[in-house]
């Protein structure tokens, strides 16, 4: 059923042979490009109704651009976030020819090409198919890109590498008739361990677990972020891997059957879970699973072949441990120290494989130019011993299996193309959805705000302050949470505030969100004018620093305040609001006209939106 591109890759630098490593399945199909071109023509000739075409286009990953239906954001699925150098090179060429010369990494491990002319979408699909990638079911009411923690396979805390499972799930459901017309989109996320990954904010979330030597998962159902957000519920203590497929099928079948097809605002599965109540839903899933197990043919079950996705375990040569000590990763660095040391400190972590490191490429709000992609592809080929990369939900890229000896070379390669910014794993690496740069639903330019925060915080050297390191900042341009603001330590979602007859771009600030198995949804605190967001975060940091008696990190301090357990000056959310009221106040338009303009605009702000493209 699936074409496998089996190719021998020899890494000449290390003598490591990947001859037995299977490339990913060829996800794309050329005929889908031809069909897309045909359907665009039919649509233009009015032989296809608007709504039918819209549904078709979304099913194939073409999302309408902001207020311009002749342009699309083309969403490239990257199953498990795993991407190869030839694929990055192809994306570079496609972005130059048909998009804006830059690509964007999304918070769900997709890669997006923006402002593609509708007539050229088929060419993008064609080019992607040539390197095994697809846009199929990247949008629409389908099973979206299956995520996998970018640390799967290298995480010191994981029970086993969940990557092959994520890929097997992606392969089984892609183009599967059972999920071509769901009530709404459906998201599956795979974690590596309880700390990393987004298992509890997905329709199905999986956390690897081993009991009595048997592999399995803790399966969480019914989570998700949006206008109303929920964390997923644990289905049972342990789901053995042999029941993984049946569990996923049962959940999707239930959703397909009982999900709300009328009210678009409440038709994600999490609402169904809420309406039925968890216990009832749980019972239904377990019952449905028995039916699935009894009725699924061996042939169908055979299609869910984890073995087919299982990469031969990469067995890198044993490394001389003496050469792998990188004390700087653990030690304090200073903003005016050597840039390389600062980069090591904020962008590199040790893997569970002794002697290997995972490096993170800091991308401002996930954007990368075609030229950077090309050079980066070369660096991945030469300097990562798995010769591939993972994109991360923090809109960065992770290059894994880098030896200590290769780190300086990787750094200088990155520096030569402007990709060696520090701080990827710190507070400075803010997440921002595409916002008003391309999305119909966006109210504010969250994308630019995330970039401004990153530039400013790097300038201030905040990436070197370890007490801020585990604080995350995530921004969405509307309440719908593509920027995942609800799992941020400090989150923001865009809105508009009216003062008299004038509108100002503002953000609702939230505190105390967290991801992983112990996910917590952030609590809304107060509104902040868009142009005051940076100052407000800095004020919060100041307040934290003034609390000298508190020994923990900024994140821990904020979590305490949210719980009303603050010690010292700020006890709880109310106390915090009081201290921030001056800085977050919207001044009159004639005094500070700047507060009434959003980032990227020199004209007065107005909140314009159109029908969302996130549902078909």
């Amino acid at each position: 059923m699936t074409d496998l591109n089996v190719e021998a890759t020899v890494n000449s630098d290390s003598g490591l042979t990947r001859s037995s490593t299977k490339q990913d399945p060829m996800w794309g199909k050329i005929e889908e490009s031809e069909n897309f071109a045909k359907n665009v023509k039919h649509f233009r000739q009015k032989k296809l109704a608007d709504d039918d075409f819209r549904r078709y286009r979304l099913q194939h990953g073409a999302y309408g651009s902001r207020l311009q239906p002749n342009y699309s954001m083309v969403r490239i699925k990257v199953p498990g976030g795993l991407i190869y150098p030839d694929q990055l090179e192809k994306i570079a060429s496609l972005s130059e020819a048909f998009s804006i010369g830059s690509a964007h990494i999304s918070t769900r491990q997709n890669i997006q090409l923006h402002w593609v002319q509708l007539e050229d979408v088929s060419e993008v699909i064609r080019g992607l198919a040539e390197v095994g990638l697809t846009t199929r079911e990247a949008c629409g009411n389908t099973v979206r890109n299956v995520m996998c923690s970018h640390l799967a396979g290298v995480c010191p805390n994981e029970k086993f590498d969940s990557t092959p499972y994520a890929k097997a799930i992606a392969r089984f459901f892609l183009r599967n008739p059972m999920c071509q017309n769901l009530p709404r989109k459906f998201k599956i996320n795979c974690a590596c361990c309880e700390d990393h990954g987004l298992a509890r904010i997905a329709d199905i979330g999986l956390i690897p677990s081993i009991i009595d030597g048997r592999r399995g998962f803790r399966v969480y159902l019914g989570g998700g972020l949006g206008a109303a957000s929920f964390v997923g519920h644990l289905l049972e203590d342990f789901t053995p891997e042999s029941r993984l497929l049946a569990t996923c099928m049962a959940t999707i079948r239930l959703f397909d059957r009982h999900g709300n097809r009328e009210n678009m605002a409440r038709n994600r599965m999490r609402y169904l879970v809420q309406e039925l109540g968890w216990e009832k839903f749980q019972k239904l899933v377990l019952k449905e699973r028995s039916i699935v197990e009894m009725t699924t043919s061996t042939k169908t079950a055979g299609l869910f072949d984890i073995g087919a996705e299982q990469e031969e375990s990469l067995s890198p040569r044993a490394l001389d441990i003496k050469t792998v000590k990188l004390p700087i990763i653990e030690e304090q660095v200073l903003p005016d120290g050597a840039p390389y040391q600062r980069w090591l400190h904020g962008n590199v972590i040790a893997q569970k494989q002794p002697g290997y490191f995972t490096t993170f490429i800091t991308l401002a709000a996930g954007d990368i130019t075609a030229n950077q992609l090309r050079i980066l592809a070369g660096a991945i080929r030469n300097l990562s011993e798995e010769a591939s990369a993972r994109n991360t939900p923090h809109q960065n890229l992770a290059i894994r299996y880098v030896t200590a000896a290769n780190l300086p070379q990787l750094y200088s390669k990155l520096a030569s193309i402007g990709l060696a910014n520090p701080g990827a794993l710190t507070i400075s690496s803010a997440v921002g959805c595409s916002g008003t740069t391309s999305c119909n639903l966006a109210i504010t330019n969250s994308h630019r705000l995330a970039k401004e925060i990153e530039y400013r915080f790097l300038e201030l050297g905040l990436d070197t302050d370890d007490s801020l390191r585990d604080t995350t900042i995530k921004i969405s341009g509307c309440p719908n949470s593509c920027g995942q603001h609800e799992i941020a330590t400090i989150g923001f979602f865009g809105g508009a505030s009216r003062v008299g007859a004038t509108m100002a771009p503002t953000y609702t600030m939230l505190f105390g969100g967290d991801s992983g198995e112990f996910s917590v949804l952030a609590k809304p605190i107060m509104r902040v004018p868009a142009k005051r967001v940076i100052d407000t975060i800095r004020r919060i940091i100041e307040l934290y620093k003034e609390e000298r008696s508190f020994g923990g990190s900024l994140k821990e301090w904020i979590d305490k305040i949210v719980r009303g357990e603050g010690i010292g000056k700020v006890k709880d959310i109310e106390g915090m609001k009081k201290l921030l009221s001056a800085i977050t106040q919207l001044p009159p338009a004639d005094q500070e006209p700047e507060m009434y303009r959003d980032y990227g605009n020199d004209i007065k702000f107005s909140a314009k939106t159109a029908r969302g493209e996130c549902a078909a």
């Binding site: 902001r66 804006i100 923006h114 050229d120 130019t369 916002g435 970039k451 959003d598 980032y599 990227g600």
Partner: protein, 287 residues
């Protein structure tokens, strides 16, 4: 490889060219490296290098003459172009192949100007100087010149568009205006009704122009028939759109015109523009 010439003469006057007019090669729209190498060997082609003079003086394709784009654009009139051709020793109908090191856009603009004054036997070299050199083909550093030739002017009105022509075409269903600039520039402002086909779409993959099959498909995808007249323009002097001109010609589009003064003139004339203002698309660029 460089020729081993150690001649102290700063410039060589070449007189050994074949002058048998019946043997003149009719060039295709785009000339491949095999054909050009062959013609150079036979001394029966004028190779025109449009890079800056310093670059030419350092090294150029064997037997090439220098015509920096800026020199052609200085006056950019038919009589000046004729003067230029005559000084380069190009007579009517003599094969001319033009190259640059800027993905073909500068060469395309010069080649188009020659075509415009009636020198139809002009071709664009399929590759850049850099690629030519990488392929190990013959180069030299001695400047070359040829004795002056007479050239006539026989304007090819069919390949030219001025602002008023473009304006009239805006409402004509069998004419399409194509903007060759990059997507973000196009979105910011463009001639009303113009479609965007960035120059990055026509070039790439080691060759200055993609294979015709691809370009034909792009045109087909846009629902443009081969009988439609296309008018190409870009930002200022018609270089990027010059490349589009050649790509479309090569792909079999019969009627292509270049609005050589392009958007710069359009704006200076205060003509209407179309702008897309509702999105902050520039903030997506990682440049």
């Amino acid at each position: 490889m460089k020729s081993d010439s150690t001649s102290p003469i700063p410039s060589k006057e070449n007189s050994a060219e074949s002058s048998d007019d019946s043997q003149v090669t009719q060039l295709p729209i785009v000339c491949n490296v095999m054909l050009l190498s062959d013609l150079i060997k036979k001394n029966s082609v004028r190779v025109v290098d449009v890079r800056r003079e310093e670059e030419y003086n350092q090294e150029h394709i064997r037997s090439a003459v220098s015509l920096p784009l800026a020199k052609l654009l200085e006056h950019d009139s038919p009589t000046d172009t004729r003067e230029i051709l005559e000084n380069l020793g190009v007579g009517d109908g003599y094969p001319v192949v033009v190259y640059d090191d800027t993905f073909g856009a500068l060469a395309a603009r010069v080649a188009w100007s020659f075509q415009y004054i009636g020198h139809s036997n002009t071709a664009l070299l399929e590759t850049t100087f850099g690629q030519w050199k990488k392929m190990g083909l013959e180069t030299e550093s001695i400047p070359t010149s040829f004795s002056r030739k007479q050239h006539s002017v026989n304007i090819n009105h069919e390949i030219y568009a001025d602002a008023s022509y473009v304006q009239a075409a805006q409402n004509s269903p069998d004419k399409i205006i194509i903007d060759s600039r990059e997507r973000l520039n196009y979105l910011t402002e463009h001639i009303p009704g113009a479609k965007n086909m960035p120059y990055t779409m026509v070039g790439g993959n080691g060759s200055i122009i993609r294979n015709s099959e691809d370009i034909e498909r792009y045109i087909e995808n846009r629902g443009i028939s081969h009988d439609t007249e296309i008018i190409a323009y870009c930002g200022s002097v018609g270089t990027l759109s010059g490349l589009t001109y050649y790509a479309l010609k090569q792909a079999g589009v019969k009627n292509v015109r270049l609005y050589s003064k392009s958007f710069k003139e359009w704006k200076s004339l205060g003509k209407p523009k179309e702008e897309i203002n509702d999105a902050n698309y520039w903030d997506l660029s990682a440049e």
